[in-house]
Amino acid sequence: MWQDFFGRGLVSTSADFGTRGEPPTHPELLDWLANELIEQDWSMKSMHERIVTSATYCQSSTVRPELSAHDPSNKLLASQSSLRFTAEAVRDCTLAVSGLLVDKIGGQSVVPRQPEGEDMEKFGNDQWTESEGEDRYRRAFYTSTRRTAPFPQLETFDAPTARDTCTRRERSNTPLQALTLLNDPVFFEAAQALAKRILREHHGNLDQRIEYGFRICTSRLPAASEKKSLRASYQRLHEILQQEPTSASKIVAIPNADMTSADMTSADMTSADMGAWVGLSSILLNLHEFITRD
């Protein structure tokens, strides 16, 4: 539990609590937490609440050199750790922010969009038939699991393979992840939806809309330098699309026939305007900050 909230357990060797593993960094705390769990009637939810409302949890993760010098791996928890989201959270947060996430609980597993040929090695004959309608946008938790042909986005972001027990997930940082966030159709569709959401929910000027979009993605307001950067990026993207009108119309095209909401163009926005917003939204969804719990 502690490992999930801080990136490293009170006993760091979560695969080995035995004599060859690491001793606890805070043995008294561990004892206290164990007792607390019992006293809270074994309620995981209560424990989670205890931990996340603690002063330790609420610390900033901004790196302070004087602390790193003494405790490079932050064993003593003098600050919080920045942790990349789990594979499932990457998908879920992207869909949530873009307004696409379907909240439904329960029901059958779903088969999100997957490129052709990904399941060539799967054992057995059942086909990977892509789900339709709202089943496209459910939480990653509901994704159908095949051991012999793991779902690529989840594998890329270090979801366990179901072939072996996993006591601690890695938090890798790879170009394949970059390619997924930039180019995976599911994530690009989310960028389109996010653009629409920003423009639908906020009717201010460019700067105000930029601020709004940034805030819903990062839960903070952008600094002046960040706003300036985003404004310049918007203008750059807009310029490119004005020179490439076919690109613009493709970027704003509806990705699938299920989408019945208002289409991507409207009377007062050109494809270049809209396309630049899609680009900007995809930038926000690709920020390191967006997939990181600070």
Binding site: D16, S61, R64, T180, S247, I251
Partner: protein, 481 residues
Amino acid sequence: MSNIHDLLGIQQRRRFLRDCVGGIGTIALAQLLAEDGVAVENSSLTDPQKQKSPHYTPTAKNVIFLNMAGGPSQLDLFDNKALLQKLDGSPIPDSFVADLNDTVIKGGSVMATPRTFSRTGDCGMEFSDLLPHLSQTADELCMIRAMHTDTANHHPAQLLLNCGTQMFDHPSLGTWVNYGLGSQSRNLPRFVVLKSYSKDASLVGPSLWTSGFLSSTYRGVAFRSKGDPILHLTNPDGVSQSFQRARLDAIGELNQLRLETTHDQEIATRMASYELAYRMQMAAPELLDFSDETAETLAMYGIDNEQTRWYGTNCLLARRMIERGVRFVQLYHADWDHHLELNKLLPIDCGMTDQPAAALITDLKQRGLLDETLVVWGGEFGRTPMIEVRRASNLEVAGRDHHPFGFTMLMAGGGVKGGHIVGETDELGYHGVKDRVHIHDLHATILHCLGLDHERLTYRHKGRDFRLTDVRGNVVTKVLA
């Protein structure tokens, strides 16, 4: 770019080691931090094993592993046994199968081979008529005739061949190699997997190129046969190169601003990952574009011929990849699992792979790359001298079952002695009887060629120092030049 690459190297190592369980990770981190000028209290720690550099001078820098999944029949390809022909149709003598204790593989009638064998090269190495091209490279090859393995089931045997253990989720050979040596590639993944099939087969999958408990940055990246070679390499529809570059610049700029505020070095790694992704996008088309190859080369690999095009493309790609710094390329061809219709199906798989495999060796030699490139050819086990009992009911559809006790693999290049045979099987090709080589020995030898001591290339996990060869394996010095 070199700064970002160095930064990527340092930051990835740092992050990787910080996330390690205690032991070696902590020690190495202390060293790294010391290198970076950060004071460490416990400077008496020393790391007995330096990663990212070989233990001794290597003879090979790269590996191309031609994995023939399913178990190619050595008796029909490499191991010519007069007794096999003589005993055709007779029950296999008890003396051979006395230790056969498998639930499904049973002794039965011996099955002769219809193939004809001939000797080629200065060394007089024997090949069947199904490998006319590969036989011409005999002088480069070391033929290991007494391979043996621990299991006669596909997946455990492939896990053993690829990961050194029958258990899931231990690092694969390519992962260990990159863990030990790093990669020179700036634009491509360091461990690439290419696949080809003569028919649908589920013999091969990500469990064979997993990074296991080592960092997933070392994982094999499977190039796909359909669509993008690497998933999501192509921009979404409408996103031009300029638009993509603009996105990347914007993401980089904002990440940089955030880095300056939080000092989270992970952001620097992420920025480097994005740059590498872009370079992969740029590099892949060039890699895949064969227009800079001569017509002779393309013909040699059989690219112009439908039968050999798939495997030929993969072999040519393998050469191009190692030229561009990819450390380890694994080609899987499936399947060689000829339980039935051996005499009809084996020629098909040979037909698809013989010419390209030979072309690869010849091409590497001609370009002066063979000396530094270790090529391995083989599958997870061989096939039985006796006829398949499980499924074959009549001789016309006969085949051979799985056979772990004696089979053949080939090695070439990278410090291997060419034109040379190591080991022998008995008169029926059943057991290896001389210079037996276990999969662990093969692994020890491969690592040795790369300059790595298989006993020192370890990683502490779950309280013990794991290694590719587990607690076994000896370098087969007879294979080495």
